[in-house]
C-alpha cells in the first residue's frame, strides 16, 4: 500500500510542475464550455423551453460545464505506458517485481489528483458565474456523486489501460487512441448529454461502459437517481464495468506478455 501511495504522490508532484500547461488547458476547457452551453441553450430555446425526458435547460447547461470539469479524466484515452510499449522500454516495466496494472493506476490517480483539482474547479466556477447551474442541496446526493465520480475514474483508467495495451499488437497507439477518444467523447455524454440521444441510440449507449465515465455521475449529481434504489442501480452499473474492465485488462496483459516480441530486441 505504501508503494502505491508513494507512486501516486510523486505522479501528483510531477504533474503539478507543469503550471503554464495546466493554465492553458483550463483556458481551453472554459472556452469550449461556453460554446457547448450556448448550443444547448439554443436547443432548448428552439423547443420553447420544453424539457427532454425530464431534462430542462438548467440541467443541460450544468451537463455542458460538468463535461468540461470531467474533461481531463475522460478524454485522455491512453497512458504513457503506450509509448513505452512502442519504443520497447516496456521490457523493463515487465521485469519489475510489482503489479503493472496497480502501478499505472496509482500513477494515474496521482496525475488526476492534481489535474482534476485545478482543471475541474475553474470551469465549474466560471460556468456557475456566467450561467444558472443546478447543484444538489442534499448531502446524500453529494456523497452518491463522490462515489460515482471515483468509479468513473476507475472505469476511465481501466479503459485507458486496455487501449494502451493494444500497442503490443499494432506497434503504434495513435490510431487506437484517436478512435477510442471519439467513441468515448460521443457515448460518455461529453459532447451532448446521452439523454438527448434518440431512444434507440440511447439504448445502445447504455449497453456500453462509456456512460459510466461521465453521464452517470452527472445524472447522480443532478438528482436524476434520487432515492436508495435508483442510486444503487446507477452506482451498481458503474461497479459492474469497473470489475469487467479491470479483469479484461489483466487478460489482455497476460495475452500480450505471453505472445509478444518486444521491439528492439
Amino acid at each position: 500500500m505504501r508503494l502505491w501511495w508513494e507512486v501516486a504522490r510523486r505522479s501528483f508532484r510531477r504533474h503539478s510542475t507543469y503550471r503554464a500547461a495546466t493554465y492553458a488547458g483550463v483556458f481551453t476547457n472554459t472556452v469550449f464550455g461556453f460554446i457547448k452551453a450556448y448550443v444547448l441553450i439554443a436547443v432548448f430555446a428552439s423547443r420553447g423551453g420544453a424539457p427532454v425526458d425530464g431534462m430542462d435547460v438548467t440541467d443541460a447547461v450544468t451537463f455542458a460545464w460538468m463535461g468540461q470539469a470531467f474533461y481531463v479524466m475522460v478524454m485522455l484515452t491512453y497512458l504513457d505506458l503506450a509509448e513505452l510499449i512502442r519504443n520497447g522500454d516496456v521490457v523493463a516495466e515487465l521485469y519489475r517485481p510489482r503489479d503493472l496494472q496497480a502501478w499505472w493506476l496509482a500513477a494515474d490517480v496521482g496525475r488526476l489528483g492534481y489535474q482534476v483539482l485545478v482543471r475541474s474547479a475553474v470551469p465549474t466556477v466560471v460556468g456557475a458565474v456566467f450561467f444558472h447551474l443546478r447543484f444538489p442541496s442534499s448531502p446524500g446526493v453529494w456523497i452518491a456523486f463522490a462515489v460515482s465520480f471515483v468509479m468513473a475514474q476507475l472505469v476511465c483508467f481501466a479503459h485507458r489501460f486496455i487501449v494502451s495495451l493494444t500497442t503490443f499488437w499494432l506497434l503504434d497507439y495513435r490510431a487506437t487512441q484517436q478512435a477510442a477518444a471519439v467513441v468515448v467523447a460521443f457515448f460518455s455524454g461529453m459532447l451532448v448529454p446521452v439523454t438527448l440521444f434518440p431512444d434507440w441510440l440511447q439504448a445502445v449507449a447504455r449497453f456500453t461502459p462509456y456512460p459510466s465515465m461521465m453521464q452517470t455521475p452527472v445524472e447522480v449529481l443532478l438528482g436524476r437517481h434520487a432515492g436508495w434504489a435508483d442510486s444503487a442501480a446507477a452506482l451498481g452499473s458503474q461497479l459492474l464495468w469497473v470489475v469487467v474492465l479491470f479483469a479484461a485488462g489483466r487478460i489482455v496483459l497476460a495475452a500480450a506478455t505471453r505472445k509478444v516480441v518486444v521491439q528492439g530486441g
Binding site: A20, V31, Y38, R174, V183
Partner: protein, 274 residues
C-alpha cells in the same frame, strides 16, 4: 552569399520531396496508417452525428434547418481541414523549442515555417477532409439553392478565404508559444474552438461571442457570413449586407496579423539550454 530566390516550381518540388519523405516514413506502419485515416474519417462523422442528434429534438436551431446547419458545417469543415492537412503541423513548434531542435530549423537554408509544414506533414489527416466535403455536398444537394455565378463565387471564396483564416489563426496562435512555450493548448481554443463554433449559426451565441468570432478570431467569415448570402437569410447581428462579401478582406487581415506575430515570435526566440 545570399541564396538566390527560388521559383514556384522549385518550391513545389521541394515541398513534394520533403512531404513525400514523411508520407513514406508513415507508410512503414501500414496498419496504423490505414486505421488512422479511417478513424479520422469516422471521427468527423460522429462529430456531424452530434448535430443530427440535436435536430432529433428540434426542427430548427436558432431558426436554421438541419440542411442549412449542415451547409455551415461543411463550409467550415472543408476550410478547416485543408488548413489541418497543410498547416496544423506548426503546432509542434513548442516540441521543437523545448527539445532544442528549433535551432536546427533556423540554420537550414529554408524558412522554419516551410520546414515545420513538411517535416510533420500527415497525409492520414485527409480522412477528415473527405468527410467534410461529403457533408457539404449532401447539404448542397438537399438545399434548394438557386445557383447564380455570384453564389458559386461566394462559396469558392468562402472556402479559400476560410482556409487562409484558419491557417492564419494556427500560425498566429502558435507564434504566441514563443513567449509561453507550455501554453500550446490555448491555441486549440481558437483553432478547434473556431471550427466548432462556426458549425453552428452565429445566432446561437451571446452577443459577446458573436463579436469575438467576427472581429477578433474572424471565424464567422468562414461559414456564417457567406452562408447568409448563399442561403438568402437575414443577419441576427444587424451588420450591413456587404459583410457577406468581406471574407477575403478578413482573410487578408488575419494573414497579415499572423505574419507579423510569427516574425515577432521568431525574433523573440532564444534557444533553450546553456
Amino acid at each position: 552569399m545570399l541564396p538566390r530566390r527560388r521559383t514556384v516550381r522549385e518550391w513545389l518540388h521541394l515541398y513534394l520531396v520533403l512531404a513525400g519523405a514523411r508520407v513514406r516514413a508513415d507508410w512503414q506502419y501500414r496498419t496504423s496508417f490505414v486505421l488512422f485515416t479511417i478513424t479520422q474519417f469516422a471521427i468527423t462523422f460522429l462529430d456531424f452525428l452530434l448535430i443530427v442528434v440535436l435536430f432529433n429534438r428540434v426542427s430548427r436551431l436558432a431558426g436554421w434547418s438541419l440542411a442549412e446547419v449542415a451547409f455551415l458545417y461543411g463550409l467550415s469543415g472543408v476550410a478547416f481541414f485543408v488548413a489541418d492537412v497543410f498547416v496544423s503541423q506548426v503546432e509542434r513548434v513548442s516540441v521543437y523549442v523545448r527539445s532544442g531542435r528549433f535551432d536546427s530549423l533556423l540554420v537550414r537554408p529554408l524558412g522554419p515555417l516551410f520546414q515545420l509544414a513538411t517535416d510533420d506533414f500527415a497525409l492520414r489527416r485527409a480522412g477528415k477532409l473527405v468527410q467534410a466535403c461529403l457533408v457539404l455536398g449532401v447539404a448542397i444537394a438537399a438545399l434548394d439553392i438557386e445557383w447564380t455565378l455570384l453564389r458559386v463565387a461566394v462559396v469558392a471564396m468562402a472556402i479559400v478565404a476560410g482556409t487562409v483564416i484558419f491557417s492564419a489563426v494556427w500560425i498566429g496562435g502558435v507564434a504566441l508559444t514563443f513567449w509561453a512555450v507550455e501554453a500550446q493548448e490555448v491555441v486549440n481554443s481558437f483553432t478547434y474552438g473556431g471550427n466548432y463554433a462556426t458549425q453552428y449559426p452565429l445566432g446561437v451565441f451571446a452577443a459577446w461571442v458573436r463579436h469575438m468570432l467576427t472581429f477578433v478570431v474572424p471565424a464567422a467569415f468562414v461559414s456564417y457570413y457567406p452562408a447568409l448570402y448563399v442561403l438568402g437569410r437575414d443577419d441576427t447581428l444587424g451588420l450591413p449586407q456587404s459583410v457577406r462579401f468581406l471574407s477575403p478582406v478578413a482573410a487578408l487581415a488575419s494573414a497579415m496579423v499572423a505574419r507579423w506575430l510569427w516574425s515577432a515570435g521568431i525574433r523573440h526566440y532564444r534557444s533553450t539550454g546553456s
